[in-house]
Symmetry: C2
Subunit: 800 residues, 2 copies
Amino acid sequence: MKINQFSIAKTNPQQKRAELKTLRLLKGDEEDQLSPATLFETLLTRTHLAVDSPITSKEWLHDLLATPDQAFDDWLAAKPALTTAVFYRVALQLLDFEPEIDFQLDQPVTAWQDFNLAMVDTTSWTSSTVIDAFYLLLNTRGKNGQSWLDMLTAHGFLTWTYQLPADQKPVLFNGKPVACYDPHDFIREVVYVETDLDTDFDGHADLMKVEIMRPRESNLKKVPAVFTASPYNQGTNDEWGVKATHDVNRSLTHKDAGVVAPDEEHFPTHFAYHTVTGTAQRATETFSSTPAYTLNSYLAVRGYAVVYASGIGTKDSDGFQTCGSPEQTASMKAVVEWLHGDRRAFTDRHSGATINANWCNGNVAMTGRSYLGTLATAVATTGVPGLKAIISEAAISSWYDYYRENGLVRAAGGFQGEDADTLADETFSRTKRPADFQRVKGRYLQYVSQMAQAMDRQTGNYNDFWAARNYRPQIGNIKAAVMMVHGLNDNNVEPSNVKALADGLAKLPVTSKLILHQGQHIYINAFQSLDFSEMVNLWLANKLLGVDNHADDLLPDVLVQSNTTPETWHSYDQWTAGKETTYYLSGSHLTTSPNPRTDVQSFNDHQSAGDYTAWCQSPAKWQAALYKDDGKFSRHFISAPVISDQLLRGTPHLTVQVASSADHGLLSAELIDRGSDKRLTTSPVIMNRGGLPLGYHWQADDLREFRLQKTATDYKVISHGHINLQNRHDARHVDDLFAGQLVTVNFDLQPIFHQLVAGHQLELIIYATDYGFTLRGNEDISYRLPVQNAHLTIPGVSQL
Amino acid sequence: MKINQFSIAKTNPQQKRAELKTLRLLKGDEEDQLSPATLFETLLTRTHLAVDSPITSKEWLHDLLATPDQAFDDWLAAKPALTTAVFYRVALQLLDFEPEIDFQLDQPVTAWQDFNLAMVDTTSWTSSTVIDAFYLLLNTRGKNGQSWLDMLTAHGFLTWTYQLPADQKPVLFNGKPVACYDPHDFIREVVYVETDLDTDFDGHADLMKVEIMRPRESNLKKVPAVFTASPYNQGTNDEWGVKATHDVNRSLTHKDAGVVAPDEEHFPTHFAYHTVTGTAQRATETFSSTPAYTLNSYLAVRGYAVVYASGIGTKDSDGFQTCGSPEQTASMKAVVEWLHGDRRAFTDRHSGATINANWCNGNVAMTGRSYLGTLATAVATTGVPGLKAIISEAAISSWYDYYRENGLVRAAGGFQGEDADTLADETFSRTKRPADFQRVKGRYLQYVSQMAQAMDRQTGNYNDFWAARNYRPQIGNIKAAVMMVHGLNDNNVEPSNVKALADGLAKLPVTSKLILHQGQHIYINAFQSLDFSEMVNLWLANKLLGVDNHADDLLPDVLVQSNTTPETWHSYDQWTAGKETTYYLSGSHLTTSPNPRTDVQSFNDHQSAGDYTAWCQSPAKWQAALYKDDGKFSRHFISAPVISDQLLRGTPHLTVQVASSADHGLLSAELIDRGSDKRLTTSPVIMNRGGLPLGYHWQADDLREFRLQKTATDYKVISHGHINLQNRHDARHVDDLFAGQLVTVNFDLQPIFHQLVAGHQLELIIYATDYGFTLRGNEDISYRLPVQNAHLTIPGVSQL
């Protein structure tokens, strides 16, 4: 087991002592008065729930081992010298590590170091050492994914802080707010933010429901806000979404140049704002609960107001779902503006009473994954005042990269047939208010049918519809600090999205942090091995509360989870580094030296009816067949086994000549790590369902971690890419193609950060139809592939 | 979708009106003053969270459809007559059914009936009808597994009741307490019950930690207690358990008569009780949380104290784990005695201060599944005063039926190699207090090694060890009402356990209720289709609070989930009924007419090394191979397809002659429902994780339901049984056997309650080694099976 902590702030000795006193652990001049052992006992006892019942806390000490065969109280009675072994043996037990299972009782220091935990460096223990070590211990993560302080918090250690006056909050410890706000006393209120939009064509500015959960104390002392823009939060139309899914079992067709899809509908620019009749002092509408991101809930008890809005086209709001449009961005930006004091909201939809966010200090962070992180990114690109930070996880930075690729209709992994209109239908939760839905149904269906034209599933070309949903040209507007989190194996929102954002941010004078994990499309705030929640708490304390905790220096610029070793994370300065390396396609080989071969390889994209049906139903079966294919419907190029471990970084780029036997065609490529090995599990394994409390008598998350798979696998897909042969130069503009025409295509594969283990091989597979991602027409098309000059470039390769 | 509700009490008109007034829904003489439509609107508005904000609640009504194209407020403005269609159209929306998805707007009454929901029978709606219908609606379950009242509760509708004086609680509605106790104000306390045991041989009476969560109001008005005895609750030793698992890949051996395993250790009868120094008025130790059964949490906010104890041999308690022994039963009985005022407890382990359960009305129910339900059953067989009811789910009634069968070591499904000693090790959570564990480790290992001898894995015979863990002889002592819940497909704790208990109870003058579901080893309190939690709330209100709600009459004596149709439950009077039917083994047929065939069939139990290894790793693969086997290692007997649906009920009994080619051997049998069909999913499908709130800002469960599997399966195992050929007459006593000796065995298979669909066939498979359940020696043994007189009897068969 290995724990990776990045959130422990450097704190000077005086500050440590002051903070321990604030937490009522250290009192007066105990440091001078008590022996190291007694001071340790004193501090320990004060962490125990039964601190007021000496008999019970003595029993607790009687059940802790100080030496391999002596209880803590017995050891203490012998008036011993405190040693590193005793301190860390006890500490391991406090952190829920189990003797014999997790560590050997006679080797506590070795275990501590093996777990990668921080320790004080001393040979002789003074009372001062005890305080330093104890302070560090409170910040140290245990076996169950929490710092000891958070473990104690879950046991009720901090409930007395609920009673502190508002102006003494948040209580900070090690540069981070502690859970000093009573979740049972939260205020939950609803307001309706008025937008400058009329996306349901009703002549009135769209009102947007916003749900706020904030500490009672925020009435007396302003707090920062963490805002999650989630189009899903008011419910989804799953059945409708299924019906709206497009058929992908159809052929690609020849595209004629200059054919452009109709525009999407433009929304009215003239509409009436709502009449203001006065200002209310408090909200009049409340809510009981809303789907919550557990990271937000972790932050809520630490003094951040948590705000959710679903945006236009959702239950209790006006407007239509527009799937990533500038209007959707504007609707979410409006919430930030209201929180910052720059926009009005109403207490309800009719009274005309406005309400201010006078409980907010004007500093806002946006959080969330997938669509939620996408909207955080989109709002950040507006440069809206008040937005100080975003944590954008698995976020789309251009919707063309989500539903299209290089002139192809290309699905998000696992969602074949979904498109912008499908997602709009799925999230149009005004259906959950049946009468409201009846009133707008006709107009909405008209709008979304026009959207279906504008998104142009026929050609797959980039056009104005997609340009409006590409946030990258506006990256330069970003003023918020940005923390990006993305799965290197995310084939829903693929890594090209975060790479483009990270590359754009690198040129700006804003803080950006990038975390790349080995998961797919997941959250990472409940991992055993990584202190992500604490990192966020540290970082937001800096960004939203102005705490001088050097968060930007402490947190790595680029943090990457190892794909070979569980529970291992490495820090880097940037994504791409190392030697640019070109791999040449040669026979069935991938070689790093140019090879003037002139052979022409070929494959045919047509499959038997049985295979076709089976693979459409289960793209995983197609993937297995593709790997084993011997040149029938794909061509494989395999490198020599690498001599030592290699790190492959950045965006691979493929250049090949190809001819289709038809007047249309596509080319796909997969990059494979080939070699039998036990790899990490595809998804994190849930170790303890509901076993990660976020506070005291508050919500909980499921503790999880990637494990090594129990059996070896032969290979792993590490990247892929797809291109329409008629979009050789540009996704927007069409090139001509006739049957048999040899054309050169060059295109990016998904960016990688991958350790290729010694003995493994790099394999490139070139093929056409991708059953998991592209249209599947099962046409009888042959492709010819002259290998001369065909090559793959990886921008950063280094030996390890 | 179909909803099955059994918990709706019959309430007279006056009572309905009084209860609606208690809930502040109906006021004064509104029934006389208001028109039906206005009364409906008035009642509706009062259920809404924004009842104090007329503008907001008007908006809500504006979003409900009264007719297919008219909002409720618009419809109301037209001063219409209320109709059945309008009432139930609105009602469907209130219950979260969605127009077009779940029901057609123009067919609300049809939908209501299709959902199997109760409705008032009227053609003309008066104000009185509105009240009756509204009252019923509050008790009606919606789409998401909750009654409307519980849905409203989760939205905060009942929070005002938190402030009611203790003596006005619990607030009853329809014979059941509502959630009128504030979970954020619960008292959580720990006491140490003193037992009359010294199971850790330390000379002192074992103290046992008990965790109590109870309403603050219980300080002023006594409440009943729901107690769950869970040896798992203080943690488990999973790694240790894995190590302690026995090797099952070994041969059965010949048993000599008269060889008896050594006795288990006897515990000291002389030991010291703890000195009493005084009586405390309140507990001094608290706890933050403990693993909770969500049914208990549902009950907690409805006014039941919830009590957990892990018993002897667990963290913070004394004693050793004894796996189902009378001592473990006594330790759990001690908790009931303390709750009933018949035993002492201490505030802590050392002060000598006793503490009474003076907040408890002395009425206790025990709940829990598996080991937990087992202990509830065991305690009930002591007849302990105060125990008024138990809900024993998937409970063991004799541990021999859990780890042994007819002279064989036979595992619980999925737990090959586990035995009493393994389970003791796994649950001996005193390891979680390392110093405490160090002090008792040696003695415990000695004890458990003796247990390993006494349980006798060598012969598999019934002996005194197992007799001590057989609760069936004491069933006659039961005074508590018993609700049994068991999965017909539970092959962990097999249905023979519940059948024996139910049969025993049938002879007693106590209430017993039996619920048989189509799941395996699961809880059923979060199903969409069944109101189990409400049934329990109704039943316990009767048993523990003395509410005269006719619960015993309302709840079916035997409730069985259909194995053919999802969301369908049928009521019966008893498990076994119908015509006793004998099936004869004839060639490869199973016939209901005797057939004087004299052929001798045979099979050989030895497998290739490859199959053996694969099947040991995956018994599911063995099962698939067994079904397809053509007489190599099994013999199959198949009935003709049944003409019409048949219901098969009770315990099948098999009688055959058999000879083993060795001086030892076993016989196994499986009963199969043969026929290609879409069957129910093996496990319930989670429809909404965390989507079932148990109160307001309280815990939540995952809503789930069995679905039809997406693809048809060829067959389903519905029963099985196993016997050692040397235990032909008795599990305790050994019969001799020599190679080739033809012997007659007759034994029970697991009890069934199964609908065999028309066209399906009943199939009996006879074989020897059962890779999922028995030892797997892979010996080269041939079995001979003369079919003359071989027969299977099913005690109840009826045509449907």
